[in-house]
């Protein structure tokens, strides 16, 4: 071993030295520049607050696209004061600020002073300075493909009974064919031996005869058939009204893959009830109009769908005003729990800190929404059994957490331990 090291060529040693230097310099450099954590934090804040109006590309959504924005603005400090309060900045007579304002047809940006701290805004700026590599154009399609592949697999899973029937059918044909062959051969041999020809009693009678002579075989077959029926029947009954993959058509062909996937809009932006209460909520049209006042669609297909929003909300794009009659959109519900099961989004999203994906799947790859989970009670309880309670930093659990950690700091407290399997937690 030692020999090996000594035998290392000098060039390699030099290379290693180079790598070390590189690593160290990078670390030193990182002291000045935003850390990966800051950038990630910034990305989160961006998604929640900015993504609705600004894309990371060059295209304009409501506000200008932010590709290379940090290089374009006078300074990062300027950027900070702009985000904090662009009104004040414009009033102070800042030339660039007023130029941005007029360039964008005088559409004022939200004032974030009070909503975001300076540090948070700095994180956003850090994120803008280090934007993620642009997605490949086919990202959305890829997602769609995976989706359809999954559906295909599902359809295979759903029809094992068909295969079984097919096998049985084939076997039956083989039996009939073999019987005919056997009979022909027997007749031939009888003819040769001079015996009387085989009496043709028909398939049914022969089967009955066979059953009478092969009682054990018949019993075994029967048991097999009954077992198969019971097993599949049971499975089938459990599957009634369990509809994962249910993807009804919708009055507007709303593309989650574009909104949540390509544009990266946070789920909470539209389904804002999820953090607050029982219902996540389907966004009302004023939420749509936050962006779609400006975005009318890049191709005729999209334009047609977006026009449906305008129609429902009474927006006249020519007058740019809500002058037409309004009417609600009747969506087809995808996730419909029965009335007797109480489910509260905020308990899971705000308290449990669960990702929407846990129950709704990777919606960013769906077109219109579809049911991802089975939504059966067993599915709920499986998760309650496995998921640790999110106790950190929640004053509700502090005392309990401390006592339990003192007893056994390695233990995982699941929802089930907290009584999450009890009937009364969801049924009342």
């Amino acid at each position: 071993m030692n020999k090996l090291i000594t035998k290392l060529p000098k060039s390699l040693a030099a290379f290693l030295a180079f790598v070390f230097t590189l690593v160290f310099t990078t670390i030193t450099y990182a002291g000045d520049a935003p850390s990966a954590g800051n950038i990630a934090e910034g990305q989160k804040i961006f998604k929640a607050n900015c993504a609705a109006c600004h894309s990371l590309g060059a295209n304009k959504v409501v506000g200008p696209g932010l590709q290379g924005v940090i290089d374009r603005v006078p300074s990062q400090d300027w950027m900070l004061s702009w985000i904090k309060n662009n009104n004040a900045l414009r009033k102070s007579g800042d030339a660039y600020a007023n130029k941005v304002f007029t360039d964008n047809n005088g559409a004022a940006m939200t004032v974030f002073d009070g909503q975001l701290t300076d540090d948070q805004i700095k994180n956003v700026i850090a994120f803008l300075a280090h934007p993620p590599a642009p997605e490949t154009a086919g990202g959305g399609d890829q997602g769609a493909k995976t989706g359809s592949a999954q559906t295909a697999e599902n359809s295979n899973d759903e029809h094992p009974g068909m295969i079984l029937l097919l096998i049985i059918g084939v076997l039956f044909i083989i039996i009939v064919v073999l019987r005919t062959v056997r009979r022909s051969l027997l007749s031939l041999s009888n003819e040769k031996k001079g015996l009387p020809p085989l009496e043709d009693i028909g398939l049914w009678k022969e089967t009955v005869k066979w059953i009478k002579t092969h009682k054990v075989h018949f019993a075994v077959i029967n048991i097999f058939v009954v077992v198969v029926f019971v097993v599949y029947g049971w499975e089938y009954l459990w599957g009634i009204n369990v509809t994962p993959g249910y993807q009804p058509s919708q009055p507007i062909n709303f593309r989650h893959d574009i909104h949540a996937g390509k544009n990266g809009i946070a789920c909470i932006y539209c389904h804002s009830g999820a953090e607050k209460g029982k219902v996540a909520g389907i966004p009302t049209l004023n939420v749509c109009m936050n962006c779609h006042r400006g975005i009318q669609g890049s191709n005729p297909e999209f334009q047609k769908e977006i026009a449906k929003i305008y129609d429902a909300v009474g927006w006249d794009p020519n007058k740019a005003d809500y002058t037409n009659p309004k009417h609600p959109i009747k969506w087809n519900r995808v996730h419909a729990l029965p009335d007797f099961a109480y489910f509260n989004h905020s308990q899971h999203v705000s308290v449990g800190k669960l990702d929407c994906k846990n129950c709704h799947g990777d919606v960013a790859t769906f077109t219109t929404d579809k049911q991802f989970a089975t939504l059966t009670m067993g599915w709920c309880l499986d998760c309650h059994r496995a998921t640790p309670v999110h106790m950190d930093g929640n004053g509700y659990y502090t005392k309990l957490h401390d006592v339990l950690m003192k007893q056994d700091s390695t233990r995982k407290i699941t929802e089930a331990d907290m009584g999450g399997l009890e009937c009364g937690k969801c049924h009342y």
Binding site: G273, G281, P328, I329, A336, G395
Partner: protein, 1073 residues
């Protein structure tokens, strides 16, 4: 010595009649009515054969299983533009004010997705202090009443506001021109108005039409008291009372806990005065003189049955006895059969000078003058009575009403506007209102329904419901509150039709430029109320103050809130004059008392099924009006005592002044002999489908016409009545003997004296007799102790970190008012089942209030009287049907830790949660009813029907699928139960879960009082206390340590999570042995 007293709920139980015993011992008191089902015409005329039936059955099964394969498509429709304050699934609460002309209550309104679904008391209020009664809780349902008018009507036909305004405007103008300045040819007749802005609007109306006048008319009036105070203090007023500050309370027929003037406020005060704790070992003593058994009388420590004609004499006797002690003048002979008692009461009052309170309900100037003198002698003015803080809740002036009706008869009134009053129904026959009303050429009604008065009006200008309106209120001088709409008017489209607030209507007719009531109130407050509070600051400060007021619901004008003085007699009235008038009170024959029921009041909400189904606190009768009579007298007259079949009553004909009504007779222990009682508020002929009853003619009979006109005031009794049998029977839907506990020791009570010596007096812990002698229950227990197990289900020594819910029920505080029952129905979507089903013992209330009577015969006394053992046993149950003591006991699911119901469920539909709650899973229940059978407390309720779908309940059940309006009241957090499942109290699990979630979201632990089930929340006397017993600072953890704590039927060792506190009576002597 344990309490040996016998308790019984009804005479049939007392006499152990065979049919009672039979029904008591059965799981379900009535047979399942197969005949009723098979007897349906559709079934007998149906020619479906058995074979067809099987075919259909087979097809249905196949079709159903096929149909089940595909999930139905559910639509979901979001708002087009979401209102900013509405988030689907999250409650919004608004502070508002309830005042319907009778009850005042500052309230909080819970709205969900824009619909008001629950009313609760507003704890900010200095008047009602967070309390509310059954009528207030039920008022949310009246918003969704289909009987409400949905458009203005002219001559009985739907019209538009433009037309109606124009026509009425013309009539008003011509009347004003004709009147030549003399008052009276235009009149506004209204109930008491406590809204300052409405009064100003009416003043504006009178300014516009100078011949107009405003007359206030109360269906149940306090005019006599106002007059008496005018004589005595120079101001027609009603003072404010402090029942909490009084050590001795004497009430002469005033049912101040549920009906008299401001019952919600008084009940709260009374509860405070009666509360006992380690810190406060004194409670008030309450003496009640009355004819009927009222809720207030039932709570009294001493109750004296008197005839209504004797109320004055009792007051005078009391005055004379006290005057002797005080050394002031006496008058009249004052000889009553109760003189000995009265002098004793007088001595007690005298001993508590300045700390006592005497009230009387008689609407009579003389009686009220005498009561004033009593209180004056006792120095109660400035102590328990504040004569300078005016109570504005009853402003009716009987004389003015009579004068107006006379004017109407004489044809002097050309336009009559009735607002929030229904005199065609409530007026005494002596007034002759109906005839007079017919003579008015232009009758305008602002009523929101086609009630009896509105029905014959020329114009109906329907008012909004109070939950749809802006309003303000000034119940006491200095105390103000605001009412704000919690929903847009339901019937408002198109704007020219629909309903419109009465104030807006009057503003319009007054020719005001701005008819918006909201801005009118705001301007009025800005000018009249708030300048005093804010000299500087201008608009900004006003808006601030306005918003704060709107948020808290109340506003106190400190300059008008004055400490009570001893009262300046401007003009001492003549005592001898009063004595003469009192002596002349009408008496003789059978005296009929007209009283108000806790549920129905004066019948304003007669179309409210929640109130109709609320069992009367005393009689436990639902959906009916009846004659209450002393059982001993009933026996003499040969009326059924409801012993044999406990719901078939005899019908009697009651004759007063030549007119007769027929009503069933109900035996009422404690009813004064020689008197009968009939409730007001029934016999509504035009109040809607609920009030119409099964026969469509209106439930019960209307006795308002029998109100007498004496000494220029309305008297709420009539003498010289005759009662004869109508030789008919009538089925009464009473819950009285349902779910009986068969005389087991379930109420424990002691006297105050005993309590002071030993807090655990008469509360011995139950023991079990074993071979080794008497043993504590815990030593012979077969079961695992649930309480010892960790509530968090983690490790056995996680200690008491988890939650363990328990409820304390203080029998000393419970006044039996039924507020909790209605509140529970509203919170938990409890179905209304109707009278027929109540008769079949299928009422669905999750909480019931058992009312027990007891007697004053004691073991000791029986021994002294040398009674035989069997006579003693029987006698102890028997004699005081004349004057029993009463105890109330709310019973809901006891959430037993060793629940008998849980062990017998074959499908585990009921199970125990780690927080101590007995859970019921409706979707799992298959309806075997084993659990109900095994429940010793009889708190489980079986759904015999799809109450929300079955046409039988179409008119009464608000949750009917076909009734989109009624369904709006449903609480979306609680399931509407289906047929065939058992249901019961859940401790309001939805509130517990909601409270926990709120705490988690706010990153804090649960504070005591955060979570309250609907019953505990709505209890006006805080008799129900709910909390986490693992939190040592919680009230419930302290109460469970109290010596008065006991468990219901503890000897079964079911270990309930509901516990009771002994009732303490402020009696002089122990009568319990």
């Amino acid at each position: 010595m344990a309490n040996q007293k016998k308790y019984w709920k009804g005479l049939e139980e007392l006499h152990e009649s065979p049919s009672f015993v039979k029904s008591r011992d059965k799981e379900f008191a009535k047979e399942v009515p197969i005949e009723e089902f098979l007897g349906r015409e559709s079934i007998t005329t149906n020619n479906t054969s058995r074979r067809d039936f099987l075919k259909y059955l087979g097809f249905t099964v196949a079709a159903a299983s096929l149909a089940a394969c595909e999930a139905p498509v559910v639509k979901t429709i979001p708002y087009v533009i979401k209102p900013e304050e509405v988030t689907p699934g999250i409650d919004n609460w608004y502070a508002s004010t309830f005042f319907n002309g009778e009850d005042y209550c500052s309230v909080l309104i819970k709205t969900r997705d824009g619909r008001p679904i629950k009313i609760e008391g507003n704890a900010n209020s200095t008047v009602t202090k967070g309390a509310a009664n059954a009528r207030v809780h039920a008022s949310v349902l009246s918003l969704y009443d289909n009987f409400r008018l949905k458009a203005p009507h002219a001559q009985g036909k739907p019209s538009t506001w433009d037309t109606v305004d124009k026509e009425i405007g013309a009539k008003l103008a011509s009347a004003a021109a004709k009147g030549e300045g003399a008052k009276g040819n235009i009149a506004i007749l209204s109930s008491t108005i406590i809204s300052p802005s409405t009064n100003k609007i009416i003043a504006g109306f009178i300014e516009k039409y100078p011949t107009a006048k405003h007359v206030t008319y109360d269906a149940v009036s306090c005019s006599g008291m106002r007059k008496a105070n005018e004589l005595y203090f120079g101001k027609a007023t009603i003072p404010s009372y402090s029942f909490d500050k009084a050590n001795v309370i004497v009430s002469i027929a005033a049912d101040f806990l549920t009906n008299w003037i401001s019952p919600i406020e008084y009940a709260k005060q009374y509860g405070e005065g009666r509360r006992l704790s380690k810190e406060k070992q004194e409670m008030s003593r309450h003496i009640q003189f009355e004819s009927i058994m009222s809720v207030t009388g039932a709570n009294a420590d001493m109750r004296v049955p008197i005839k209504p004609s004797e109320e004055g004499a009792v007051a005078l006797g009391l005055h004379n006895a006290i005057a002797k002690l005080a050394g002031t003048a006496t008058a009249g002979s004052g000889a009553t059969p109760y003189d000995a008692l009265i002098s004793k009461v007088a001595a007690e009052l005298w001993a508590n000078k300045g700390k006592s309170l005497v009230v009387a309900s008689a609407n009579d100037i003389s009686v009220q003058s005498v009561v004033n003198m009593i209180n004056k002698n006792l120095g109660n003015y400035g102590a328990t009575i504040n004569i300078d803080r005016e109570c504005k809740l009853r402003q009716g002036n009987d004389e003015e009403v009579a004068a107006l009706v006379k004017d109407m008869k004489d044809g002097k009134v050309e336009v009559l506007i009735t607002y929030n009053t229904n005199p065609a129904y409530t007026a005494s026959a002596a007034l002759g209102f109906k005839e007079a009303y017919a003579k008015v050429p232009c009758k305008v009604s602002l009523s929101s329904t086609h009630d009896e008065t509105a029905l014959s009006a020329d114009y109906n200008c329907p008012d909004n419901h109070y939950l749809e309106s802006w309003n303000d209120a000034n119940p006491y001088s200095g105390a103000f509150s605001l009412a704000q709409p919690a929903i847009s008017p339901l019937f408002c489209k198109p704007r020219n039709e629909g309903t419109r607030s009465a104030q807006e209507t009057l503003l319009k007719w007054s020719g005001s430029d701005n008819t918006d009531h909201y801005s009118f109130i705001q301007n009025h407050w800005k000018k009249e109320l708030l300048p005093e509070q804010s000299d500087e600051g201008g608009d900004y400060q006003f808006i601030n103050l306005w918003n704060t007021t709107l948020q808290s619901g109340i506003f106190e004008k400190t300059s008008e809130i004055v400490a009570g003085t001893a009262g300046n007699e401007t003009n001492a009235p003549s005592l001898s004059d009063a004595a003469t008038k009192i002596a002349a009170a009408a008496k003789g024959g059978i005296e009929v008392v007209f009283y108000q029921k806790t549920s129905m009041g004066s019948g304003i909400q007669a179309n409210n099924p929640w109130l109709q189904e609320l069992p009367d606190p005393i009689s436990k009768v639902t959906w009916d009006n009846y004659i209450t009579m002393n059982p001993a007298e009933m026996k003499d007259k040969g009326f059924s005592l409801l012993e044999e079949d406990n719901h078939v009553a005899s019908v009697a004909t009651l004759k007063v002044n030549g007119s007769t009504i027929e009503l069933p007779v109900f035996p009422q222990p404690g009813q004064a002999r020689g008197t009968v009682g009939v409730a007001l508020g029934y016999g509504r002929t035009s109040a809607g489908k609920v009030a119409a009853g099964n026969d469509g003619k209106g439930i019960g009979a209307n006795v308002f016409p029998w109100i007498q006109w004496t000494n220029n005031t309305f008297q709420y009794y009539a003498a010289g009545a005759e009662i004869t049998s109508a030789n008919k029977t009538y089925e009464i839907g009473a819950t009285q003997t349902h779910n009986t506990m068969i005389g087991r020791p379930i109420i424990k009570e002691a006297t105050l004296e005993e309590y002071k010596k030993d807090h655990g007096a008469r509360n011995e812990k139950e023991q079990i007799k074993t071979l080794d002698g008497m043993k504590d229950l815990k030593d012979v227990n077969l079961w695992d102790d649930y309480d010892k197990k960790s509530p968090v289900n983690l490790t056995n020594n996680a200690g008491n970190l988890g939650l363990r819910w328990k409820m304390a029920v203080d029998l000393n505080s419970c006044i039996g008012c039924g507020s909790c029952v209605v509140s529970c129905s509203a919170e938990n979507n409890v179905p209304v089942v109707g009278k027929d089903e109540v008769i079949l013992v299928r009422e669905m209330h999750w909480i019931r209030i058992d009312r027990y009577y007891s007697t004053d015969l004691t073991m000791k006394k029986a021994e002294e009287d040398d009674m035989t053992m069997s006579n003693r046993q029987y006698g102890m149950m028997l004699p005081s049907a004349d004057n029993p003591e009463v105890a109330f006991q709310p019973v809901m699911c006891q959430h037993c830790n060793h629940a008998p119901c849980e062990t017998v469920c074959p499908v585990i539909a009921t199970s125990h949660g780690s927080e101590g709650i007995n859970q019921m899973v409706y979707n799992r229940c298959v309806g075997t009813k084993y659990c109900a059978n095994n429940c010793p407390y009889k708190v489980r309720r079986f759904n015999w029907f799809n109450y929300y779908r079955d046409e039988k309940f179409l008119n009464i059940n608000p949750a009917q699928e076909s009734n989109d309006l009624g369904r709006m009241v449903l609480n979306p957090d609680v399931v509407v139960r289906s047929r065939g499942v058992m249901e019961k109290c859940s401790f309001c699990l939805q509130r517990i879960q909601g409270g926990k979630l709120k705490a988690k979201m706010e990153s804090r632990t649960i504070k005591d009082g955060d979570i309250k089930p609907a019953c505990a929340q709505s209890c006006p006397t805080d008799a129900l206390v709910f909390g986490n017993v693992n939190d040592p600072d919680s009230r419930v953890a302290k109460l469970i340590e109290d010596e008065r704590m006991y468990l219901l039927i503890a000897d079964l060792d079911t270990q309930p999570n509901v516990f009771y506190m002994t009732k303490i009576r402020n009696n002089e002597k122990a009568i319990l042995e």
